[in-house]
Amino acid sequence: MRTELLTYLSANLSGTIKVSMELPFEDSGTPLYVKNARKVYLAEPESTTTQLLALLNGPDISEKQFTIKGYLTVDAKNRNADLDSALTVLANARTEASIPNSFRKEFDYTTTIDGSTMIYEFEYRYNNIA
């Protein structure tokens, strides 16, 4: 799931904002996405399983939601010219990345300003039959 998203993003983020294949780990206490601005980082998927349909005579049908968090730091003072198109690519990855068997695909992001940087924290959510 993360691999498919990275494949799509690396092929489509062709401007000043690129994608990193690394996980957003911390280096000397600073997250990589803060250290390396204008690079998109995707974390490993997290999953939760919940009951989708209760059945009388067998195991219930469950749905598994995979959540993949992502991060991007940009300069808040000098906005990247291609930031909007990069955000469009990030949003399009929700459906365009080759992730099979998902019956619900969601994407959203929030922003926070930290000094002179703006951090985009985004999240992809995919629901599959478990």
Partner: protein
């Protein structure tokens, strides 16, 4: 009037209520269907020596099931009473429920059987039996089919089969109905 402790204990035992458990795996509701052979069904036709018999279809993935027995009523008014009088007449019996579609049981293991003169329940599947208007026998184990479990048995026809899926639904689901011909037979598994 005073009652002895023994009498009170005895009365409490008599009033103790039991429940039909359908929650644990051994007590799951079981719905077995087979093509009617022209005779009244018996439990052994569906379930013998602890197993579902050949050519009997076990309906999987049930979401709910309702066994309905609705007697018709005849009402009239009399000058000498303040309220209506009523008697019941013949009943309308139906079984209804909803299920998640399983391709093998819904469409059958042999789709061509749907067009043959005869086919078993497992070959025809629920859709095939409904489409062909096949007369079927049904056995419902209310809490499994172990010794002592209650069952309801009947003969009828599939109806109200309407598989559907929507954009935000990951699986196909369908209501199913059975229009029952005649009485139910209720009993306890031997």
């Amino acid at each position: 009037m005073s009652l002895s402790i023994d009498t009170i204990t005895s009365l409490k035992e008599q009033l103790k209520m039991a429940y039909i458990n359908a929650a644990s795996s051994a007590d799951f509701v079981r719905v077995l269907v087979r093509v009617n052979d022209g005779t009244a069904p018996a439990v052994a036709d569906f379930y013998a020596t602890g197993a579902v018999t050949t050519a009997t279809l076990e309906v999987p993935a049930l979401q709910d099931i309702t066994i309905t027995n609705t007697p018709s009523t005849f009402r009239w008014k009399q000058l000498d009473t303040a309220s209506e009088k009523v008697v019941t007449s013949v009943s309308s019996n139906t079984i209804s429920g909803n299920l998640v579609l399983d391709p093998a049981t819904f469409f059958g293991t042999d789709p061509s059987a749907e067009n043959e003169a005869t086919g078993t329940a497992t070959e025809e599947g629920i859709f095939g039996m409904s489409n062909k208007k096949t007369r079927v026998d049904v056995l419902i184990g209310l809490s499994g089919l172990s010794t002592g479990d209650r069952y309801v048995m009947a003969t009828g026809y599939f109806s109200n089969v309407a598989p559907a899926v929507s954009a935000d639904s990951p699986v196909w689901v369908s209501p199913i109905g059975l229009e029952i011909d005649g009485n139910y037979v209720a009993g306890t598994m031997a």
